[in-house]
């Protein structure tokens, strides 16, 4: 494929790897608004997209950016935006819009320190809950948590694939450390890269129903294809017409969440490190998991039975595996760069009778291994 990053070994910045992955995934439209620390993605896409025949546009704000992404995808082009902090907050309304209209779309959120303007140049992991609950009403998204340049690349391709497969908005919740990290990247042969395209309708326009409830994921007619249908942000019936009917509206909302809930075991991913005989299970993700892994390595050498459970998807959360592990360990310690977000999910799904602790940490920096090690030693009373 001309113009795409060739298979091979690279030393690359996380944000650039995200851009190159998007191009390989088939992304040909980017709309965004400048915001630190995600800027390199927009800058790279503005240079690269025209090289592969795609379109880059810098919009007037983040609201316009994500809505333009949805418009482009509605016309059949894989599309994305990238943002951080306040920009992600501004996009929340359209998370619901993407869900309601079932338009495949990708947001890369390079998480930074908040609240508000916070520290734009430094790291945070404070958008875990917002990603899932930030838009009003009931909806599902898929959110990936890369902890390396390689995963930033891999998960961006996955985000496009699952967006297309489930007709849903997906997110790559990177963080400032991962976005700005230089690291090794292996681009596989294109033949090894799975690419998914949304299902197109095969019936004639008069037979086609835009929100056909006989399907879990209805085929998607794109604009201009001759189906002449109404896509509505209002609660709608199978034809896409607005409805306030009790059964019609509940059927729609149920289907929108069932798309993901019934497939969560296919979508969710995680990594386990030294969990087989662990008595203390640490839960961490993104850049934080790199510090935690160092701590696990060091303390294992000293005989502490500590392990790491690293969700690679925040949403859907791999709760069944956490529950299994929680039945074997004595304590769980959640480390994240916020004052307590994923810990709530862990508390919800862990076996009830164990001690779940949290390391609140939100200074704009990732916790050093030494800091975490000190806390773990206290937990062991050592």
């Amino acid at each position: 494929m001309p113009g795409l990053l060739r298979p091979g070994k690279y030393f690359m910045q996380g944000n650039i790897a995200i851009g190159e992955a998007a191009l390989i995934a088939g992304c040909r439209f980017y709309a965004g608004y400048p915001i630190t620390p995600s800027n390199e993605i927009a800058e790279w896409m503005s240079r690269r997209l025209p090289e592969v025949g795609g379109v880059f546009i810098q919009m007037e704000d983040e609201i316009g950016s994500i809505v333009a992404v949805l418009g482009a995808s509605a016309a059949g082009v894989k599309a994305m935006t990238a943002t951080s902090g306040p920009g992600f907050s501004l996009m929340m309304e359209s998370v619901g819009l993407a869900s309601m209209m079932e338009i495949p779309s990708v947001i890369v959120n390079v998480m930074r320190a908040g609240p508000s303007t916070g520290i734009p140049t430094l790291v945070g992991q404070g958008d875990i809950m917002q990603a899932k609950w930030g838009s009003h009403g009931d909806y599902e998204i898929i959110a990936y948590l890369p902890n390396s340049v390689q995963e930033a690349f891999d998960f961006t391709i996955k985000a496009f694939n699952t967006a297309e497969r489930y007709r849903i908005m997906t997110m790559v919740l990177a963080d400032q450390v991962i976005g700005h990290m230089m690291g090794k990247l292996i681009v596989p042969d294109y033949s090894e890269v799975e690419l998914v395209e949304r299902e197109k309708p095969t019936v004639s326009p008069d037979q086609y129903l835009v929100a056909d409830s006989r399907y879990l994921i209805p085929p998607m007619a794109i604009a201009g294809a001759g189906y002449r249908v109404n896509y509505d942000s209002l609660t709608h019936d199978d034809r896409g017409y607005p409805s306030v009917d009790r059964e019609v509206s509940f059927r729609l909302v149920q289907r929108l969440v069932r798309k993901i809930r019934e497939n969560e075991r296919k979508i969710a991913e995680w990594e386990e490190y030294e969990t087989d005989d662990a008595d203390l299970l640490m839960v961490a993700y993104g850049c934080t998991s790199r510090s935690v892994k160092e701590v696990v390595k060091k303390l294992r050498r000293e005989g502490f039975r500590v392990g790491l459970f690293r969700p690679k998807t925040a949403w859907p959360f791999p709760w069944w595996r956490l529950r299994e592990l929680s039945e074997r360990v004595n304590k769980i310690l959640v480390v994240e760069i916020n004052m307590g977000q994923m810990v709530h999910v862990v508390r919800e799904y862990a076996a009830r009778d164990i001690d779940i602790m949290h390391v609140p940490y939100a200074p704009g920096y990732m916790p050093d291994p030494g800091y975490i090690e000190g806390i773990v030693r206290k937990v062991y009373g050592a």
Binding site: G71, A223, R228
Partner: protein
């Protein structure tokens, strides 16, 4: 207080057979969705009919017409057209249209929105899309009020008006939409009322033909506005349009703000039409320039 809507009642209209009203337009209108939700006395039904007629006369295959709208009474209009229609969130249809058009330049993308949707909550998207001269059409049905939510004031509500959120009289100055569009860079600007049906349809067709950001303001009667402001009967605003409209294609745009003062003229016409390269054309040239530079390793 009996409202204008109560006084009119549907019985006055029940004798009008839908099939007659939309005769010849069945190909462009979703008859299965009739009757529409617009109030008796509202201008939107006429705009719907006019737009359907213009789409059929445009010479552009109906499959390539796409309607985009946001929230409000006017936001419901494209859903009644038998075209690909996207009814998105409040204020955002222009941004959605920008994405559609850039992704597929063959689409004829028309945004239909009210004054609240396009120049109030969506004002930022409006001015920037005009500035970039995207090849999209924007029909702004200006009825001076938020009708769907019950009659609150918006960015075009004339100063002194009474609305549900200005019960003591409105103290803000309104936007002059053609002037705003001109200043922002729109390349086609027109204004009509629903009683100028033939001109409106003709202007819609010109708007489809125009390459660039086209703005057509339709001054629409609204019973919710009228009942509190000098136009108590549903025909009063229409009578005002009939008596006070002045067609002036050369109008000085700073002077055509709307006060709805029955003593003041209401200036309408096709005010501005200029050909300037569109964003889509410029970006296509950019892609050709870049691709000549060869693929990146």
């Amino acid at each position: 207080m009996s409202s204008a809507v109560d006084r009119v009642r549907l019985k006055d209209f029940s004798s009008i057979a839908l099939s007659t009203f939309y005769k010849g337009l069945e190909e462009a209108i979703r008859i299965d969705r009739m009757p529409h939700i617009f109030c008796p006395g509202c201008g939107l039904g006429i705009v719907l009919k006019g737009l359907a007629e213009a789409i059929l006369k445009s010479g552009i295959p109906i499959e390539k017409h796409v309607g985009v709208s946001g929230i409000g009474c006017t936001g419901r209009l494209p859903g009644y057209l038998k075209i690909d229609a996207y009814h998105v969130t409040h204020g955002r249809p222009i941004a959605f249209a920008v994405g559609l058009k850039l992704a597929n330049p063959e689409l004829e993308v028309t945004v239909v929105g009210g004054d609240g949707d396009i120049v109030t909550i969506g004002g930022n998207h409006f001015i920037h899309a005009a500035r970039r001269n995207h090849d999209i059409n924007v029909i702004i049905v200006n009825n001076f009020i938020y009708g769907m939510t019950g009659g609150q004031y918006g960015a075009t509500t004339p100063v002194g008006s009474y609305t549900t959120t200005s019960p003591h009289g409105h103290v803000e100055y309104p936007f002059n939409i053609p002037l705003l569009a001109y200043a922002a860079g729109a390349t086609f600007i027109a204004r009509w009322t629903p009683i100028h049906y033939a001109q409106m349809v003709d202007t819609f067709i010109q708007m489809f033909e125009h390459k660039g950001f086209a703005v057509v303001e339709i001054i629409a009667p609204c019973v919710l506005y009228g009942e509190r402001n000098r136009f108590p009967s549903y025909t009063d605003m229409v009578k005002y349009f009939r008596d006070r409209c002045v067609i002036d294609n050369e109008a000085d745009l700073p002077k055509i703000g709307i006060s709805l003062d029955p003593k003041e003229p209401l200036v309408i016409g096709v005010f501005h039409k200029v050909r300037k390269k569109t964003y889509e054309e410029l970006y296509r040239e950019l892609i050709e320039r870049v691709s000549k530079g060869g693929a990146k390793e």
